[in-house]
């Protein structure tokens, strides 16, 4: 049986879900036997290749997030929402209490640590009006909630998708 191909992306999140993924520890060896990681935040991949499983960490906050999400959706046979930001909006969603101009001002003008003094208009992707979970933009096939999801929950879902064996009853956690 040919090895499956997994791509992971890091959108508007803290990378905690990817940390939890790495916390699979020795199971990463089992994973390597079953699949190749063809794209991830630590691999310098310019264009997401065709893949069997796409894992999405993070909510959709700006145009780039949305572009990457749509690209992965087009390339992945199965799209999995990884973590609370992708599935529920979670912490990035706090931004929705404010206007975008207020948020940008806070980050680029009012922040004491920022020497720039003005909101950049190049190279930084434009914010979308509201932060939203990924399934409000594209079709999602499975959700692994958790902040971050436990390595066990990730392994349960990923190994089921790789082997085709049904997963056990998932243990949900929102925190």
């Amino acid at each position: 049986m040919a090895k499956k191909r997994i791509a992971t992306v890091w959108l508007c999140g803290c990378s905690g879900c990817h940390m939890s993924f790495l916390d699979l520890d020795e199971k990463l060896i089992d994973l390597a036997a079953l699949a190749d990681i063809v794209a991830s935040p630590v691999a310098d991949v310019k264009e997401i290749p065709e893949c069997d499983i796409g894992l999405v960490e993070g909510a959709i906050a700006n145009e780039e997030n949305l572009h990457v999400l749509q690209e992965l959706r087009a390339k992945a046979k199965v799209l999995v929402s990884l973590g609370d930001c992708a599935g529920f909006g979670c912490i990035p969603m706090l931004r929705n209490q404010f206007k975008n101009e207020e948020v940008l001002d806070r980050a680029y003008v009012l922040a004491e640590s920022n020497a720039l003094g003005s909101v950049p208009d190049q190279e930084v992707p434009a914010l979308l009006p509201k932060v939203r979970p990924i399934h409000e933009y594209v079709e999602v096939d499975a959700w692994i909630p958790g902040c971050p999801p436990s390595p066990e929950a990730i392994w349960q879902a990923v190994s089921a998708l790789l082997t085709g064996k049904p997963a056990e009853e998932p243990v949900l956690s929102y925190d």
Partner: protein
């Protein structure tokens, strides 16, 4: 109540008419998810999680508000119900901004659990992202509207349990907003800060600020202890990790109390004074650390002085009534068995010797009303109480009685404005004459045939011959007011007299106020179903009654003459009760004062030796509350390093002074409660006690 038969999920069950479908389900261990339901509150069917299908009904109905009926066929779980429940939970999540990872309630949240129960791994509805405020104005409680699910549990608890009704909804539908009073910040509202809203909130919308940042990391296991704050002795649940105490919540218990007051919930864990950490001796104006052995030798030398050998009553002891009975017993035992001085007392102005005489205590029991009787009362006669300040939980009982049962409220000697608009009759009377008002009430009750009292013919005649003018002159209160109070008392089926520390005589030379109140309930034959007198005396300490069971000495702290004492032992624990300046001054004249305390206390000004002891959270032991109920508390944490146990201190001191062979029993005082299990009442002495004629004499003597 007639029995009915019905089926739930095809299983035949029986129930009582008047029960709801939810109650019948719970009774039969059939799980139905709920969110707005809470045992003890009126159901309102707001959350729609408990929907069930009933054969013959066109749509699902909420189990919590649907009465069980004979022949009903109920289904609690069908694919259609499961889907509706899941939709409901998703809609609740999407309506506001629920972000679990930084919520203090996460891991212990009923909305989260409902999500898990209904397998919600994402929302099929778009979020509304409303912009909602956070009310951070209260010093202890925060209100985050983003997490509110509009279940109204806090509103109902504040109204039905606390009788405060501070909280309610503004606006309608999903725009509803929980508001305090007329929409003012919680911290400026009429909130009584009991924290009940925090306990009943299913989510993190209402949370305690102090523990919010570590609450999620606390173990789920709770330890039950006793609040030492007042005579009610509420049972408290708390979880602890690394000596940090999480939210304090009411643990219920046999007295049926569901609430705490501000002191119990927030005051105990927010002490202001720093801990005492070492044995110290005062040299001039300086405190110097000394080994315990040296201090014991010094104490023994003082106790061996010639004046004390000649008259041991020159040694006195003052003990906080907020300590476990074991500690009080050791101190009492040291005084009565080792020193042979009867002059020990708990520091509580309700240590009325009159109670013992009038109720026939004599080491038996306190046949006074319990908390359950407060919830039946149709009239409250408050004598010298400042309930909201001293007994917040009793204040809740009175408030809900007055507001919900329309119980009459008569206040004698009201010290402050409280429930003013609900007071049927406030009687302003000089503090030292409230006993005469009570006796005058008795006179009018006898005249109306509502009370009967056996007393000498001559005294009865003098009492009945008193005219209204005489009564007015004797009491300083218009006789018409006293007549009205007597009429209200005579009309009531289940009146309760509540005597606080402001009652006549507590500060004076006797306890005439208590005696007069006791005469009143006895003459009107006002007994509870349990045979206890409809009178409650508001003890200040969780163990005031416990100390009395040990045969509290005749020493009343207000009558103590310090010039007749050479050595004083003051055992405080971490009682932060204000002792009053006159006390500090009185102790100052005693040449050797040993203070055993957990925290810096103003009494240390007058002390010569200070011994560090455990704080309330580090103690376990027995308490007897104002109902006469035995309660056992567990320690929440081990004593801090360097703390010296009072029992060990007095044992070592006895050996240092009297020699190693001297034997005495520090636990002798525990005899009355030794055999009684947690929650049991100290047996009630049933024999009739004579009425207190002196209290009646006091009134007629004015003519």
């Amino acid at each position: 109540m007639s029995r009915i038969r019905m089926t739930i999920n095809g299983k035949a069950v029986s129930a009582f008419e008047g029960q709801t479908v939810l109650e019948v389900c719970r009774q039969n261990d059939i799980f139905v998810p709920t969110l707005c339901h809470l045992d003890g509150l009126t159901d309102i069917g707001a959350c729609r999680l408990c929907i069930v299908e009933i054969e013959g009904q066109r749509r699902p109905v909420p189990a919590c508000t649907t009465p069980a009926e004979d022949g009903q066929a109920v289904l609690t779980s069908t694919p259609a119900l499961e889907d509706l429940r899941r939709q409901t939970v998703e809609l609740i999540f999407g309506e506001r901004n629920h972000i679990c990872p930084f919520c203090p309630r996460s891991g212990n949240c009923e909305l989260q659990n409902a999500g898990y129960e209904c397998n919600v791994d994402h929302l099929r509805y778009n979020y509304l992202f409303p912009t909602l405020p956070v009310d951070n104005s209260h010093p202890r409680i925060a209100l985050d509207h983003n997490r509110c699910v509009l279940c109204a549990r806090c509103i109902r608890a504040c109204d039905e349990w606390i009788g405060a009704h501070v909280l309610d909804f503004d606006n309608r539908g999903s725009k509803s907003l929980l508001v305090a009073d007329n929409g003012i910040p919680l911290g400026q509202s009429s909130c009584v800060s009991c924290g009940t809203c925090v306990s009943v909130c299913p989510t993190g919308a209402l949370f305690e600020k102090r523990s919010a940042h570590w609450q999620g990391r606390l173990p789920k296991e709770l330890t039950e202890t006793i609040c030492p704050g007042c005579g009610v002795g509420c049972r408290i649940n708390a979880s602890v990790r690394h000596r940090q105490i999480g939210e304090m919540s009411p643990a219920g218990g046999p007295s049926g109390n569901k609430v705490l007051c501000a002191r119990g919930r927030f005051g105990l864990v927010n002490p202001t004074a720093p801990r005492v950490t070492a044995v110290k001796v005062k040299r001039g104006n300086q405190w110097v650390e000394r080994p315990l052995k040296d201090v014991l030798a010094e104490c023994a030398r003082r106790l061996s002085s010639a004046p004390i050998q000649a008259s041991p009553e020159r040694v006195i002891a003052l003990i906080s009534p907020r300590l476990p009975l074991e500690t009080i017993s050791a101190c009492q035992g040291f005084m009565t068995q080792v020193v042979n001085s009867p002059r020990w007392s708990i520091v509580d102005r309700t240590d009325a010797t009159g109670i013992k005489r009038n109720l026939g205590m004599n080491g038996k029991a306190v046949p006074l009303a319990g908390l359950r009787e407060l919830d039946e009362a149709d009239m409250f006669l408050l004598v010298g109480c400042n309930l909201e300040r001293t007994h917040g939980v009793i204040a809740s009982y009175v408030r809900r009685g007055v507001l919900h049962r329309r119980a009459k409220l008569v206040k004698l000697n009201p010290k402050h404005a409280w429930l003013t608009e609900w007071t049927d009759l406030p009687i302003l009377v000089d503090r030292n004459r409230d006993d005469k008002v009570l006796t005058a009430m008795l006179k009018y009750l006898i005249e109306d045939g509502k009370a009967r009292l056996d007393m000498p013919e001559e005294l009865a005649q003098r009492l009945s011959k008193m005219t209204d003018d005489d009564v007015t002159a004797a009491t300083g209160v218009p006789a018409a007011q006293i007549r009205e109070a007597a009429r209200l008392y005579g009309q009531a089926q289940k009146p309760i007299v509540l005597c606080g520390t402001g009652v006549a005589g507590i500060y004076g030379q006797s306890t005439r106020g208590i005696a007069a109140a006791m005469n009143l309930v006895k003459a009107a034959r006002q007994k509870t179903s349990a045979g206890r007198w409809r009178l409650m005396e508001l003890a200040a300490g969780a163990n005031t009654y416990g100390a009395r069971l040990m045969g509290d000495s005749e020493l009343n702290i207000d009558h103590l003459d310090p010039h007749s004492a050479d050595v004083a032992f003051v055992v405080i624990g971490d009682d932060d009760w204000a002792w009053g300046r006159e006390w500090i001054e009185k102790l100052r004249t005693i040449s050797f004062v040993v203070v055993l305390t957990a925290r810096n206390h103003e009494v240390l000004e007058s002390a010569h030796v200070v011994i560090p002891t455990a704080s309330w959270a580090e103690r376990q032991g027995t308490y007897v509350n104002l109902e006469g109920r035995v309660q056992k508390g567990c320690r929440l944490m081990e004593p801090a390093p360097g703390c010296i146990d009072e029992v060990a201190f007095f044992e070592q001191l006895a050996r240092a002074w009297r020699g190693p062979e001297f034997t005495w029993s520090p636990t002798a005082g525990l005899e009355p409660v030794r055999q009684l299990a947690d929650g049991h009442m100290v047996p009630c002495q049933s024999r009739e006690e004579p009425i207190d004629l002196a209290a009646i004499e006091a009134l007629v003597a004015e003519v």
